[in-house]
Point group: none
Chain length 412, copies 2
């Protein structure tokens, strides 16, 4: 089966914005064995969009549109697809009521224009959208499916998984796809690749994909077979070799990020955590608390951006700051110890560094970071010098701190 993706929105035709929904969708479709043969980006323009839909329908068995389902005049996807497929639209009171309820729950009143979102193409199935007002639509047109999805990723992705995947699986020949994934912290992509390429390049099945973010590499293996046992055995064969080559650099075998891995370990041991952040300014705690239920093990912590706060809130001695400066091993240690003492947590993580672009001194360059971990037995420090802009240095600094704790909890 071939698929095309049409991204709708004039903002996607500006120099600032790129369509990223299609990347996620392509990944989902490829996993089903569906190839994406073209992508089109069209502005909020009814006739141009209708023509793009007609052309896509003439070529492909699956046409997915994202965006343009909002309530405003410039949301033209419903009308354009109706025109392209020559179908009428029907007002659905039940959908209108659901939108109205959604507004009421947040003590707002549904605007008259939101009623537009309650129109569904003749013969189409409405796909409930738990995270937004615009429902998706599935239009079966002979052997071809045209699917309308909302543009915001937090609405589109769960809707696709819940409503579209099962429908697509029913349309496709039976095939088993099994995946295995690894995550590696703080190793360069080129280094990961150099280690494992001799293994994965030998195998077309499973297919291997490597995705890199700041200090975080994902390795995906995807085996496709007629039988599940064959797929699992291929994954075990290739995965086993990769695990041997990367060893304890692998922190996750199920795509859980570091903050989930350390959260599970802390919960299992009924231990608690606090933080003391300087250059990361809340990012470390934000990651830890992005995990639902983090209150089981995360007590809280201190944002000590200024030296005075390091002294007053954490008890870092003033002469230590004077002698070593705030970005130093002794200060990272004093911050971690201070946070642990003041919160009573089992562990405390600290981060201090120069995120840039300003703040560098002759002795301490932009990107210099110290992370500390205070625990019941000991206090460890790791230092690093990260390259990149402010966002990247901060992301890597939080990764450094979490990986320290991960290794401690795993007894490494």
């Amino acid at each position: 089966m071939n698929a095309e993706i049409i991204a709708v929105g004039s903002e996607l035709l500006t120099p600032q914005r790129v369509d990223t929904n299609s990347l996620w969708l392509t990944d989902q479709l490829n996993a089903l064995g569906v190839e994406v043969t073209a992508k089109t980006i069209v502005g909020d323009h009814r006739e141009r969009l209708a023509e793009a839909v007609r052309a896509a329908c003439a070529r492909s068995e699956l046409v997915i549109l994202t965006g343009g389902l909002g309530p405003t005049e410039d949301d033209v996807t419903r009308d354009a697809v109706a025109a392209a497929l020559d179908r009428t639209q029907q007002f659905r009171q039940d959908i209108c009521d659901a939108i109205d309820q959604r507004f009421r729950r947040s003590n707002r009143v549904m605007a008259e224009i939101n009623k537009r979102q309650a129109f569904v193409l003749e013969g189409a199935e409405a796909l409930p959208n738990p995270n937004g007002t615009a429902p998706g639509q599935w239009v079966q047109d002979g052997g071809r499916a045209v699917v309308l999805l909302p543009g915001p990723p937090n609405e589109m992705q769960p809707l696709f998984v819940k409503e579209c995947l099962p429908r697509l699986q029913r349309m496709l020949p039976p095939q088993v796809i099994r995946t295995r994934s690894y995550r590696v912290a703080l190793m360069a992509e080129s280094e990961v690749d150099q280690r494992i390429a001799p293994v994965y390049t030998k195998y077309a099945n499973p297919a291997t994909t490597i995705l890199a973010a700041a200090g975080d590499i994902q390795i995906h293996l995807r085996a496709r077979c007629a039988a599940e046992a064959d797929a699992e055995s291929l994954l075990a064969e290739v995965g086993g070799q990769i695990e041997a080559l990367l060893g304890d650099w692998i922190y996750s075998r199920n795509l859980d990020p570091l903050e989930v891995v350390i959260g599970c370990a802390l919960r299992a041991r009924s231990q608690t955590l606090s933080v003391a952040e300087s250059c990361t300014g809340g990012l470390l705690a934000q990651r830890i608390t992005s995990v639902p239920g983090a209150s089981d093990y995360f007590l809280g912590g201190f944002l000590t951006y200024s030296n005075r706060m390091k002294t007053e809130l954490l008890g870092v001695p003033e002469d230590l700051l004077r002698e070593h400066t705030a970005v130093s091993e002794p200060v990272a240690e004093a911050m971690a110890r201070g946070a642990r003492l003041r919160t009573g947590s089992t562990y405390a993580l600290s981060v201090t560094g120069i995120a840039g672009p300003g703040g560098a001194t002759e002795a301490i360059p932009v990107g210099a970071v110290f992370a500390g971990l205070a625990g019941p037995q000991t206090c460890r420090i790791r230092r690093a010098h990260f390259l990149g802009d402010r966002d990247r240095v901060r992301a890597l600094a939080s990764q450094l701190a979490l990986d320290m704790l991960r290794r401690e909890l795993a007894g490494l």
Copy 2:
């Protein structure tokens, strides 16, 4: 003049790669007053690409293709455009010699397949490529131009600037583009639209685009005129009406996010800020400190995820927590006052709420948030009930707190 961009390459149809050449090209074209009305991404497939070129030529006066000019079998752009425009291709010895020279300069021998790159469409001008072997091509087809550009940005961009910009300028009437932008916090997209649609829908020029994120709406106006004064006057006319309709909901007139707006205001007044975060768990401070130089006004703060931390670190009375629970107006107030007192900052922001998915009680649903602002004169509280997942509730909660401070600093 309308333009379309066609990016050629099967790698651009994988989940990992996105076409970014078109962003740079769009910026160049917009500056000339040329609007990009569609973008298409096609794999290395001759017939599909030829069809895409035919379709684009039927709609647009300028069609730019990037990629697929290499020497190998899967580089199909020349052949596909020749087929679409029904033109032959001619071998050009001078281009072949230039490619050969290029290889010799790096002590290599030109491969036989590189001769493919010396074929030029009947009637086309070859565009010299100083950074690669593949020349570009400019095909004038009546009033329409079809332009073939190499894919690597370091080849495409200088070639476009040197060869294409002058040709386009000769084709176009003199024109200037001026833009104006607004940002609005915590108003629903439909509400913004309902207020301002009566204005902007009356004007095709300037063109209006509305972009929505969690609790943050951007409004972009783009005016195109022959004279700069006319463009500015159109922006003033439409912008003035929009400003009147949205009033102090507008927090930025230059696309600065809230954290930059409050940072500038604090710096200008030499005032300082601290935070006390519960449900946002560091996100609020992370946003504040994402701005370079935030240390000028941000002192630090407290992450008080547990009730005990609220009491011990911020001095929130235990009986207040017992009586009202942690997600309440009195606790938000006590948190803000406690942070201000303990850091000595001019202002302190607090956030407490239920980010979900767990943690709701009968009295307090998921999404309930209280934000507090303690200042020299007074302490204010705002409450809200946000819908959406954990990430969205936390994003909106941080927005609520920052907007409170923005309004306070603006004397609203």
